[in-house]
Chain length 260, copies 4
């Protein structure tokens, strides 16, 4: 069974800005989905901010193995309830790939527990992404580096938690650097942040970017779900793995639930 | 100048439950503060849930280098606004030490971005904490292991992010294990989670527990603050470290702010 | 193409000690290989200390995707030249799974750069391995914990580097704990240390242990090799990605090699 | 008591190469020591390759809290026995700071267990070091970035283990990036790798470089020693923390030592 991948696009600038519309006439989400098509192991659907429940209903997420998130101008319009639903699914094992300006999306900030700040410049400068971890599955088949002739600059410090592993570091023409590919696990879910993708440039028409995304979907995928990651059950003394006697003063009795 | 440490106690069970009141007649927060007193480098104040703004006003946090947090029954009563204020201070460099049932406090879950679940049992069983990282500053002066004759059991999986380093792992009489001392950095702030401290047992009268807390305060302390961790400033092209020309299509103009 | 797995066994106690011989009449390496057989994606061969070049010739390693290593009494007899050859292959991308007393094997110590010490006891006590990272590929399909009724105890501190991720933590009847499943990457190669496997007990007849090993082989596998991880090439100024002029004083000229 | 810091310099190019001799007329080691002098908490001595036992006798190391290592042309002349002695001291708690071309020193490769490769270019280009972890003690008091107008380029992938934390990332004029400040712990010892310091350039006359080194010495310092990190003692069953009975077949008897 293929990896069921849901590509989420904010779909705002495509509707308002001629440059973005010309760049992505069918929307960024559809172009990102197209980049995944060459991998026969991936099946894709798309969703946008404008869909009911932003296209992220319980039913939709139940059918999703990996969620890809691109947002920028309308982070604030994403409903908190949908953000919590996605977080919960990630903790249970759904993969999540956050792109570019998604560093400030509610879902990324929610899962990082950190400011996720950086500094930036929109000047169409050259970005060169170096593969610093060639053996990582997300770097599979990539050259030593690849270039995007025009990109928005993101500069360090990127105030995110220390990742499990860093896959890419970017060089920018204007003199900055950025950790452009970072992996995390939250609960049972794999998370990958990938930097490139400013909407006024043709980044998601780039083949190497496509390879990174296909690799990332394969890396983030876990077919199992782990709802037990969300709970804190009482294990009564008479069900302990080793036989023990109950002793001492108690707040809780028998099998009652704890405080939350 | 000493490390200004604010000990926060929920102060609920001390008022309602005779066992806890007898155990901690002046409240857990005051007993925890007392454990810090033997370190001349630490000055302490206390705050409780019942104080205005839970004792965590902007002014109070501005005078705090390290915050110690103990809560259990009333996590839900802590105001979201105060939680956000504390998170912000941590990101700016304030240290945070979260104790025991604080694994489910709003502030810990906020900073972890993870469920922070576990399984538990209140049966007065023996806990033995092994120092697995003897060279870590938080383990300074500790024996190979120390025991708490009666404690609540917390069992793995503890659904928190992979820590920077693990300092303690606990053995429980009933057959479970738990990573009992975990370090994190979020933004510029150091965070330490320390497991023991169930309110019906005399844990905060234990000298070795005191040593751990004193070590942790010293480890978490950073006298500087880094408000820049919270921002995402535009760096215009003519202020780039390397001289570049502006080119390509643009969404933003001049020095305007980005989307959030 | 299946994952070509080479199971290396020291094969010393099987020849000298009646208990071990009865436990593993065809040698531990053959029994470990048998545990892998139920995974159709894995093909196995075996090698022992007594084979020419310990069965780890250049040719043998060139045909190996994942190497499993069990040794105990004869670490010192493994030739340094073979150890270096294996280390090099791991750095180039071969997976390595080190079992039990292999914590003190030359190859594990070589790749960890650490003492790899611990404390131990051979008393046939119960070990219970808790899955602390249920979403990790090595934990796939496992229950919350599994038990080995008789095992040698290994106790913390285990003086190894902080791992990428911890998968298992063991509880021992005698009161100790141990991080029993640890992942590392060295160069391009994935490394997994798995604690159980004392030769006088029937550990490698246990089905859950087999599941862990099969999972670990699949996790450690990378079909590509990265010989560039071993080099430090000079990149002359006229081949730099960005055009620069050579300036300043120089030690090296043109394309000459650096010092090693 | 001050932090007793031993600055080790290879002292080869200073004797052979006029540029280096002019740059560092008293040797690089003495100039590096001078950079530490403004910190009243640090006392320094120096040692070179040419000294008996390279100045790293047991007695010298017993008086050393932090060792700083600069080597380049003569890594191969450092005696293996001295390398093992230093490794052992690091595991026991001595701090180690490895500079620049020391990435290929025997001691760094020994402690990393990895190839420590990279690619390089000697063209006097500009390096800009970005502080990516402003709250880290090694970044204390530093600006957002600092520049070295002429440096040797080191480019990724730097084939070292994933660090505990990354402190600096460098931008190079020719288009490369490099993780220039990396922290590790091996045994009880703190290790910091710091990239800059090519001998034909005036790097160790730079004040900010001095600040980094002073910060690093303070961070790496641990006054305690942990010789137990090197051992693997037998803990007989009758000394177990919990009372157990001995059972099952045995290889070892009573208090005998294990195999190594």
């Amino acid at each position: 069974m293929p990896i069921r991948t849901l590509v989420w696009g904010e779909n705002v600038h495509e509707q308002k800005n001629k440059i973005v519309a010309d760049n992505y006439p069918e929307g960024m989400h559809n172009q990102i989905a197209r980049l995944l098509a060459s991998d026969g192991n991936i099946s894709t659907t798309t969703a946008t901010l404008q869909d009911p429940e932003h296209g992220c209903s319980e039913a939709a997420l139940a059918q999703t193995d990996v969620l890809i998130w691109w947002g920028h101008a309308a982070h604030g319009q994403v409903k908190d309830e949908v953000v919590e639903r996605i977080a919960k699914r990630v903790w249970e094992g759904m993969g999540l790939i956050v792109l570019h300006s998604g560093h400030f999306s509610k879902i990324f900030k929610r899962l990082m527990g950190a400011p996720c700040g950086l500094h930036w410049r929109e000047a169409g400068e050259r970005e060169r992404l170096w593969v610093i971890n060639p053996g990582h599955p997300i770097a599979k088949g990539l050259p030593a580096y690849f270039e995007l002739e025009m990109e928005e600059m993101y500069g360090e410090p990127f105030s995110v938690p220390e990742p499990l592993e860093t896959v890419f570091v970017s060089w920018f023409q204007g003199g900055e650097v950025f950790r452009s590919g970072l992996t995390y696990r939250r609960g049972a879910g794999n998370i990958f942040y990938f930097r490139p993708g400013h909407e006024t440039y043709p980044t998601y028409h780039d083949d190497t970017v496509g390879q990174v995304l296909r690799n990332a979907v394969n890396w983030a995928f876990n077919k199992d779900r782990y709802p037990q990651m969300l709970t804190a059950p009482n294990t009564p003394f008479d069900e302990a793995p080793e036989q023990i006697e109950e002793r001492g003063p108690k707040l809780h009795h028998g099998r009652e639930e704890g405080f939350r």
